[in-house]
Amino acid sequence: MSERDFHPLVKQLLDGDITIADLPAELRAEGEEALRLLAAVDRSSVELPAVPERVMRTLVRAPKHSRPWLLAPALAAAAALVIWLGRPEPVATPAAAIVTVRFVLTAPDAHDVTVAGTFNQWDSHATPLVRIGANGLWTATITLPAGQHQYAFVVDGARWVPDPAAPAVDDGFGRRNSVLTL
């Protein structure tokens, strides 16, 4: 036991096995330090009101339930991360493969990021990305049918940004659309 470690009796106090009154006098100060540590535990609740809608929106795009989750290759770091879903379903008619795609964009100054593309009729409100932490990483996970999709990120509702790590094509109106082939 190093000098910086709590005494075993103080650890019992932290575990709730004994009270501070059970500690010998010479350990009371250490016991109080330990209880101050526990008093700083943040037990406030965290609410995630947007999760049901986001989850169900993702599922609605999947044709049917229950596929094993098979990991597969990710594209370039800043691009869409792709995870294949195998479909060994006992279905009479062969269905197209479904792919779960994670869109990732680094946009530290953005207040709001969405992804719009051929898969959501270019609706810039349909697929919001969620900010992860303080370093400006935004992500969204959706499922798409296999095939080719065009898309762009929409930053703060106005700025259309092609994916810097994906191939792009001209949209015929002077903008570049990113291309995702699944």
Binding site: D5, I20, A40, S44, V51, P52, R54, H65, S66
Partner: protein, 205 residues
């Protein structure tokens, strides 16, 4: 007073202990988890929304404390629900959906922490609850923030046992049962966590 805080903590534990891994107490006529799972497996996808609604917030705090931010927790909980849906046929006991879902979320949190370990300290401030941000000048808020930062310096195993016991209020026995491990092993992890937290907090102050 410190002792009062401890007593309060114990009282609060009692309200949380039974909740984390068990299905909600349902009023008569409310659909049980198992019935919903079976309906979804039979093709009624929309019913899955009931499970998401029922359990979305219960694990939000666990995920937020494990990952260091509410944003990361939101992403993790969403992903876990999508994964649970995709793997629903593997839920051996539909009546215990919630415990099974927890393990999926837990794996997701561990994977996320491995991936973003280097970013953790920067994100920690985001993990502080809104109530803390409102009184960000108080000493108590500072202590909470310092502890959250220190928690992120623990290994995921150590952090998890601390979160389950001291944030969620579970006993060692309940944690051991859910994680299929032994109480002595959990205590060893926790006691290392105490020492590491003490060291971290001393460095911060």
């Amino acid at each position: 007073m410190v002792t009062q805080v401890t007593w309060e903590t114990r009282a609060r534990y009692q309200t949380h202990t039974w909740l984390l891994f068990r299905g909600n107490r349902l009023s008569p006529g409310t659909e049980a988890d198992g019935d919903i799972v079976r309906a979804v497996l039979a093709g009624d996808r929309e019913r899955y929304a009931k499970l998401v609604e029922r359990y979305r917030d219960r694990y939000a705090r666990y995920a937020a404390r494990m990952l260091g931010s509410a944003d990361a927790a939101e992403d993790a909980v969403q992903d876990a629900f999508v994964r649970a849906y995709d793997q629903l046929a593997q839920c051996k006991d539909p009546n215990k959906f919630v415990g099974w879902f927890f393990l999926i979320l837990r794996n997701r949190c561990f994977a996320e922490r491995r991936r973003s370990r280097s970013k953790a300290p920067l994100e920690a401030a985001d993990g502080v609850a809104a109530a803390d941000r409102a009184d960000s000048n108080t000493e108590a808020a500072e202590r909470r923030r310092a502890l959250q930062l220190a928690l992120l310096e623990l290994t995921p195993d150590q952090r998890e046992v601390f979160v389950l016991k001291h944030v969620e209020g579970l006993s060692y026995g309940e944690i051991a049962k859910q994680l299929s491990t032994s109480v002595p092993s959990l205590k060893m992890r926790m006691h290392r966590a105490y020492d590491k937290l003490r060291e971290q907090l001393r460095e911060h102050t």
